[in-house]
């Protein structure tokens, strides 16, 4: 339909705000612009379809949780767990985000231009063709990819400030790809480094290009940079812990 709707969210509680967004999307609006956002939570929760939602300001926690299809673009920082348990669609954040970004994500893409906090990508999971992707332009903090069961997690560390520890703690599926070198001491038990093959590089190149395109970055140096690839040391890291009565 191509219609655009603008909502002024200043001083609005999240329930009426989200209801307005939902109604707009259900009425076939293809672009919803939300201005004056400060702390409103649950924006885009459970939304289906393929509308685009532009958020101006700082949205509160659980942005796009359970979202299945639309695109949410944040012109500002996000707080706790954007992309939480997200099913499909895309979240683009032109700023940084807090802890537990893409927690339990099962599909779709979350792109963060800036930094993310602790436990980024925790318990991401994939199934057959449904594979979640988290890409971070800046750095990530400790416990990156904790408990990962699937998906693709790329950290570009463009400012060179990455000093995360406990990377891949409990990882049993999926992959974490970090630009540059990663100290062995930064890896958690159960995660291991493997060389990035040409095939891997070709596989992630389109994702990096898409990320670069969304934020106006030059893709070439990123596509050809050196990356460390981190994968599970075992598909059943907890098998050695238990025995039966």
């Amino acid at each position: 339909m191509g219609k655009t709707v603008t909502i002024d969210a200043e001083g609005m509680h999240y329930t009426p705000l989200n209801r307005q967004i939902r109604e707009a999307v259900e009425n076939g609006v293809s672009e919803v612009v939300v201005k004056g956002v400060l702390g409103q939570r649950f924006i885009g929760n459970g939304l289906r379809g393929n509308a685009s939602i532009h958020v101006y300001g700082v949205p509160g926690g659980d942005l796009a949780m359970f979202m299945s299809g639309p695109t949410v673009i944040v012109h500002g920082n996000a707080e706790h767990a954007p992309g939480n348990t997200m099913d499909s669609g895309k979240v683009v954040i032109h700023g940084s985000a807090g802890d537990a970004v893409a927690h339990s994500m099962r599909g779709g893409k979350v792109f963060v231009r800036g930094n993310i906090g602790y436990r980024g990508g925790i318990h991401m999971k994939q199934y057959e063709a449904q594979r979640p992707i988290l890409v971070v332009g800046g750095s990530a903090q400790t416990f990156l990819g904790e408990y990962m069961a699937g998906g693709l997690l790329i950290v570009l560390d463009l400012d060179g400030t990455m000093k995360a520890r406990g990377i891949g703690s409990g990882i049993h599926g999926g992959e974490i790809i970090i630009r540059g070198d990663v100290d062995d001491a930064s890896l958690a038990a159960g995660a291991k480094k493997v060389p990035l093959t040409d095939e891997d590089r070709a596989r992630i190149a389109p994702v990096i290009r898409e990320f670069a395109g969304d934020f106006g970055l030059d893709p070439e140096p990123l596509v050809s940079a050196d990356y460390t690839r981190i994968v599970p040391a075992s598909a059943r890291p907890f098998a050695g812990k238990y025995t039966w009565e």
Binding site: L38, G39, R41, V58, G60, N77, E79, H80, S96, G98, D99, N115, G117, Y118, Q141, T142, K163, A185
Partner: protein, 350 residues
């Protein structure tokens, strides 16, 4: 549980409470509307050399006689009065807030390195432990705590915190799990210089409490902040540790990190853990603490609770959420999230 907020102006430029009220109520999703509190430094310039005791009386008649008598034993009361309050429709007053401006007599604590504070500590414990309908909720020089059982806006309006000006403010939006009626339960907790707000729950509470009680502190609040305040008082004032070492004792690095440190640093860190093992706090927490010269923030070692740091000109902000900082300072210049256990220390210019 809860949401917390702290702001400090490092050149002692005064801020009235309206901005803090705005910031704290931005985090109402983190609270349950049954408790909120504010602490402010620099609010009593006319009595800046007196200890300002804020007291809750169940009723002004009975409890007051006991407090008057206790204070007379330990020093002189320059002035005392009811704290001005303004009834709010959603706030049920369950006690009467009062304030005393008090000078303790240091000769009554001979041989102490900080006699006035020892006296204040003693008499606060004495009043609070006895069930005489009085509870001292703050006891520092030129600092006051304002709290009650309601949403941040209602508590702020009850005391009209916009009428007070301070250069450091701490605030707490409480998520109540027990004793909803008790006005003294929300943070900030204060003991003379130190005020503390906390978001989280210390799982080692039982251990930490037994430890701090063995040094003569009596705990009467069943809150984490009480324990944290006493621990900071012990480590910094009585044991002479720098604040960053005190924080290191409360939220120490993991052994596997200590083992990789250079020798002298390793020895110090190991010694801290050995001496203060029972003071180590476990569980999710973010703590913001202040005294007249500084504001500090630190998280637990696993970074289970959020802490956002904002800087703008001379102001330092520490809060649970960025939105709260922006509610008071829309143009905040830098927003960062420090690593687990790494303290953020802001000092006021001397």
């Amino acid at each position: 549980m809860c949401g917390i907020f702290g702001v400090m102006d490092k050149r002692r430029q005064m801020m009235d409470g309206s901005g803090i009220r705005q910031a704290l109520s931005m985090m109402n999703e983190r609270g349950s509307g049954e408790g909120a509190g504010y602490a402010a430094y620099g609010i009593y310039p006319d009595y800046r050399d007196c200890y300002a005791l804020h007291v809750f009386f169940d009723n002004a008649r009975d409890g007051k006689a006991v407090v008057d008598a206790t204070l007379e034993q330990w020093g002189t009361v320059e002035h005392n009065e009811a704290i001005p309050t303004y009834d709010q429709p959603n706030l049920r007053a369950t006690c009467t807030p009062w304030r005393y401006f008090f000078r303790p007599d240091p000769s009554l604590a001979p041989g102490s390195a900080s006699p006035e504070k020892d006296i204040i500590t003693s008499l606060v414990m004495q009043i609070n432990a006895g069930s005489n309908g009085a509870q001292v909720i703050s006891s520092g020089k030129n600092v006051g705590v304002f709290k009650a059982g309601g949403w941040p806006e209602d508590v702020a309006d009850y005391y009209r915190i916009e009428d007070y000006e301070g250069y450091i403010w701490l605030a707490h939006n409480r998520y109540t799990t027990n004793n909803p009626g008790k006005w003294e339960r929300p943070d900030p907790f204060n003991l003379h210089d130190w005020s503390v707000v906390e978001n989280g729950k210390i799982t080692s509470y039982g251990t930490n409490r037994r430890y701090i009680e063995s040094f003569g502190y009596t705990c009467s609040m069943s809150t984490d902040s009480e324990i944290i305040t006493y621990l900071i008082d012990l480590l910094v004032r009585r044991h002479g540790l720098d604040i960053n070492l005190a924080i290191r004792a409360l939220s120490p690095p993991f052994w596997e990190d200590i083992d990789l440190m250079p020798k002298a640093e390793q020895d110090l860190n190991r010694a801290l853990r050995l001496a203060y093992g029972s003071a180590t706090m476990n569980g999710p927490f973010t703590v913001v603490a202040a005294n007249p010269d500084m504001m500090v923030g630190f998280t637990d070692r696993g970074k289970l609770r959020p802490m956002v740091v904002g800087e703008c000109g001379d102001r330092l902000y520490i809060s649970s959420e960025e939105a709260a900082i922006r509610a008071m300072e829309p143009g905040v210049e830098s927003i960062t999230t420090p690593a687990a256990g790494e303290p953020v220390i802001g000092r006021v210019a001397p």
